[in-house]
Symmetry: C2
Subunit: 146 residues, 2 copies
């Protein structure tokens, strides 16, 4: 059994972010890749949708300019033949503010011939925004406890 595409992609992605070495990653992204990280793009310009390898490599460069990954734990994972989903917890630093951030995300990824063709990333964005602001946002209680 050969290694699942997810593991190669994950290693190359983290290497691209932390070491700015993109050679491995470039070979693992499909020319027509469809990419989305859901979240507030006003605060984080590298969130949002990107289409095509050049746009995705560019957004990964922006991510590398802004964060450093210290640690990640894969809390849940499901692997298909050419697909993968995981829930992950990241410890990272926002480089500009030198601020530690801990976030939880879920991703769904599809591969073709070992190359990433589609990825959707969902983040617990409210928690992320509060950490990035460095203060809690006051929230009214909306729902009744019943």
């Amino acid at each position: 059994m050969t290694e699942h595409s997810l593991w190669r992609f994950s290693r190359a992605l983290h290497r691209a972010i932390n070491e700015r070495q993109r050679e491995d990653l470039e070979a693992l992204i499909d020319e027509d890749v469809d990419w989305a990280i859901y979240g507030p793009i006003d605060m984080f310009p590298f969130f949002g949708a990107r289409r095509g390898k050049a746009a995705v490599l560019e957004v990964i460069r922006q991510i590398a300019d802004n964060i450093r990954v210290h640690r990640f734990d894969r809390e849940s994972i499901l692997l298909g033949v050419e697909s993968a989903a995981s829930m992950m917890r990241y410890s990272l630093t926002m480089l500009d503010a030198n601020k530690p951030i801990s976030l939880r995300l879920a991703h769904f990824a599809q591969f073709k011939a070992g190359r990433l063709t589609n990825i959707r990333v969902l983040i617990d964005t409210f928690d992320l925004v509060e950490q990035a602001l460095g203060r809690p946002i006051h929230l009214p209680r909306i729902a009744s406890a019943g």
Copy 2:
């Protein structure tokens, strides 16, 4: 091939939320279930962690008291033998405020003998909070566009 546990659980869950019919659901939840919906519990008291069937049925009752589901689309899905992960888009109403909400979530679920033993739900919570507040939260641009 028998039907995957996810489909039965999903039907019963939505029936419990929209029609307050919990009979089907009760048979599909393990006594020792481990349940978590990540998000701001100050605003949504039915978010957070619950342990055991009674606590989970109670929190589903609270959810039913607060929301009505109009529609959901499963955008991505991976099925294992006794596990499942999906990314979903929901259209729902917050009953207290009669407010329409559209949200994206990801869940990772595990089953044993057809019963839910573990579920983790991640939500694009910042988007949800803004909709529940009914106004945008001003955010500074934190990251550099590079």
